[in-house]
């Protein structure tokens, strides 16, 4: 198959890079949620301790 013209090819290349970046961002978001949960639980522990 001959090489795709730039405008068509651009969509595929963009798609591939978007997939890559999206994976990273989703992963980081999940870890961030995990950290937020840990933070919340620490605050609970601290407030229990204060009582």
């Amino acid at each position: 198959m001959p090489a795709l013209p730039l405008d068509e090819a651009g969509k595929y290349v963009a798609g591939a890079y978007v997939v890559f970046v999206a994976l990273i961002l989703i992963y980081v978001a999940i870890i961030a949620a995990k950290i937020a949960r840990i933070d919340r639980q620490i605050s609970e522990l601290v407030s229990e301790d204060d009582e």
């Binding site: 198959m1 090489a3 795709l4 730039l6 090819a9 651009g10 595929y12 290349v13 798609g15 591939a16 890079y17 997939v19 890559f20 994976l23 990273i24 992963y27 980081v28 870890i31 995990k34 950290i35 949960r37 840990i38 639980q41 620490i42 522990l45 229990e48 301790d49």
Partner: protein
């Protein structure tokens, strides 16, 4: 203990990946045959190499776990494998995009890297059901380590077998790795590979830190509950 050096590592990752992307789009020339589409190669192949490295690392950590009985090695193994599976999914998706753009089909069997990745991915997906169907924590870790070692040894064998099979039926057309790349493409590729590896290690340390903190917290809460 896992977060040592995390910040500089993250910084290095950002710098390297940004440089890599810049090189890909402003420095590396367009491929003579495939044109602009070949740029996918700079994200697809580094992902594949790093994922394979992650699987092998998971196996090595598993060996250390079995020999020492220290469960922190099991955690390192689990996170490495877990992240490599996610990366592997990315390899398959970007590979499919590349195949569609180059060949017009969403899947091609001619590409030994892609095909052997499919097999490896299918195998490692069983890691989760195997792991989580064993309730006893210590046994779970031990069996997972055995799996990680077996699968880690399998990865290179599988790659060799698939490559041998493909080379007899289909001459390799799509991929170009390492050896026959012109200088400026090779530099771009190496920077991209380095960035991907740094990214993997950074995220690996990040998840380990979060998991470790979560475990420590659980211990604290249990202690507090008992004391109350």
């Amino acid at each position: 203990m896992y977060s040592k050096g995390l910040a500089p590592l993250a910084a290095a990752t950002v710098v390297t990946l940004t440089t890599a992307f810049a090189l890909v789009f402003f420095y590396a020339p367009n491929d003579a045959d495939q044109g602009f589409v070949q740029k996918i190669f700079y994200v697809h192949v580094p992902m594949a190499i790093v994922a394979l490295g992650g699987f092998v690392a998971g196996g090595v950590f598993a060996i250390k776990h079995l020999r020492s009985g220290d469960s922190s090695w099991d955690m390192r193994s689990y996170v490495a494998i877990h992240q490599s599976i996610i990366l592997g999914l990315g390899v398959l998706v970007t590979g499919a995009i590349w195949a569609k753009a180059s060949w017009g089909h969403w899947w091609v069997w001619d590409e030994p890297v892609l095909v052997s990745f499919l097999v490896v991915f299918l195998l490692y997906c069983v890691y989760y059901p195997l792991r989580f169907s064993i309730e006893d924590r210590e046994r779970q870790a031990r069996y997972s380590s055995v799996f990680a070692i077996t699968a880690g040894a399998f990865v290179p064998l599988n790659f060799v077998a698939v490559r041998m099979a493909e080379s007899f039926t289909h001459p390799r057309v799509l991929s170009q790795t390492g050896g026959d790349l012109p200088g400026d493409m090779r530099l771009t590729f190496l920077v991209a590979l380095l960035g991907m590896a740094l990214l993997f290690v950074t995220l690996w340390k990040l998840e380990l830190t979060a998991k470790h903190a979560s475990m420590q917290l659980k211990k604290l809460r249990n202690r507090a509950r008992v004391a109350a």
